[in-house]
Structures are given as C-alpha cells and as structure tokens.
Symmetry: none
C-alpha cells in the first residue's frame, strides 16, 4: 500500500502516547518519511499529518505572493505557527501534546483517518459525526456513488 486508507481508533496511555496504526507506519516507511509535519486542519477540528513535502507545498504557494502582503503573513501564521514536526518513538507511537488536544478535543482515544497522501487525528466521536454529516449532505445533493 502506498497511501493512507481507512480509519482506526487507538487508546492513549498513561504517559500520553498513542500507537500509530501499523498500516500507516508501513506507508510512512515506504515513502521514507521519518519526521511528520503536523498542522491544524483548515476545515475540520483535526490534526493533519504527512511528510515534510506537505510543508514545502504550502511554502511554494506562499512564495507566489507578495511576501509582505497580509495574505502571505496570515498563511504563514497557519502553516508555520500552526504546524509542528513530530517524531514517532521506537515502537511507532507519538505524544499527544496539548497542541493536539486543544485543537481536536481528543482526551483518551484517537481516531486515525487516512486521507491518501496524509492522515488525520480526530476525537472519535467528532469524526463519527463529521462523517455522518458529510454522508447526509451528499445524499441531499443526490450525488450517490456508483
């Protein structure tokens, strides 16, 4: 597998760590990603995580604008100020910091959600509801799959 798919929920231990699903770790290994760039998602209350090239992509987008413009400044505030590099420990776990908890509402469990070229960290219940809402909206618009 070469992309992040499906979702899984894992428990946070007493030290505040959580295991990244093995299938996701496999993708990370395959893409040779050793450090995760994590940032606060622009739409959902979730943390998005992917390789450093995610940040590169954002920075290229900024570079296209006037560097002194308020738009560029705002964008930097989000992707630099709102982003972190994180490392997994030897067992493939990551620390669930306040940076993550405050933004997502995560307390004792994390739902990992695959998004092809990156994955996300959600509070389980929030994810369920967002998914249900998305399904509902799709139904209303008549955009059924198949």
């Amino acid at each position: 597998m070469d992309r992040f798919l499906s979702h899984a929920t894992n428990r946070i231990d007493a030290k505040g760590r959580v295991s990244v699903p093995a299938s996701f770790r496999g993708v990370l290994a395959k893409l040779d990603i050793r450090e995760l760039y994590c940032f606060q998602d622009f739409v959902f209350p979730a943390i998005s995580a992917g390789g450093p090239e995610l940040l590169d992509r954002f920075e290229r987008q900024i570079a296209g604008e006037d560097p002194f413009s308020p738009q560029a400044n705002e964008m930097s505030l989000l992707i630099h100020g709102g982003g972190v590099f994180m490392k997994l420990d030897q067992e493939g776990r990551l620390m669930v910091s306040d940076f993550i908890r405050d933004f997502t509402g995560i307390t004792d469990e994390v739902t990992f959600v695959g998004r092809a070229d990156h994955f996300q960290l959600w509070a389980p219940q929030v994810f369920q509801e967002a998914q249900a809402a998305a399904r509902q909206e799709r139904r209303l618009r008549g955009l059924r799959p198949g």
Copy 2:
C-alpha cells in the same frame, strides 16, 4: 531543523525573564545567530525576532526605492525606530521589556510562534484569536491545501 516552526507558551518569571523554546535556540545555533534583531510586526500585534540579516534585507528593500519617498520614510520609521537588538542570557532566556509588553499586550506568559526564517512573541490569547480568524478567512475563500 533549519527553520522556526510551531508554537509554545512559556511563563515570565519574577525577574521578567522568559525561556526561548529549546527548538528555537537550536535553530539560532545552527544559523549562528548570537544577537536577535527584534521589531514590531507590520500586520499583527507581535514582536518579530530573527538574525541581523533580517534588518539587512529590509534596508536593501528601502535602498531599492526613492530614499525620499513616503514609503521609504515610513519603512525606516518601522524597522529602525521600531526595532532593537536583544541578547539571550546563558540559559537561553530573554528579558521581556516594556518595548515588548506595550506593543503585544504580554503580561505573564509569552507564546513563541515560528515563522520559518524568524519567530514571534505574542500574548497567548491574542495569538489564539488571530489564528482562528486567519483560519476562518481562509475557509471563506475556499482555499484548500493541495
């Protein structure tokens, strides 16, 4: 790490000092920056800090304009009149002067915010609000990553 990333909040002690996050100090060491050039941000109520070459860059931009133009005059007023050099003490702390407090509203805690080639000092709550506003604006514009 070769650039300033993420954010962290530290407490100001009884003597008015605050620790610069270790990850930021690591970047400073890597770039061999011993003295910080600090100035009042052009957009947000925050103090920006970086190496002396930041000032050089501003001065080069001024040099490119008519030296007697209102723009050049204004720019100089901001980067010269609104800028200072600061040093860290042996433990990597800096004094939070009135220069910083008055402009940012900082009282007893400082949020350090990475901005790639420099970092900023914010009042924690002001930063939270500015970031939320930036995210909201981005959402309205419909600019998704990728």
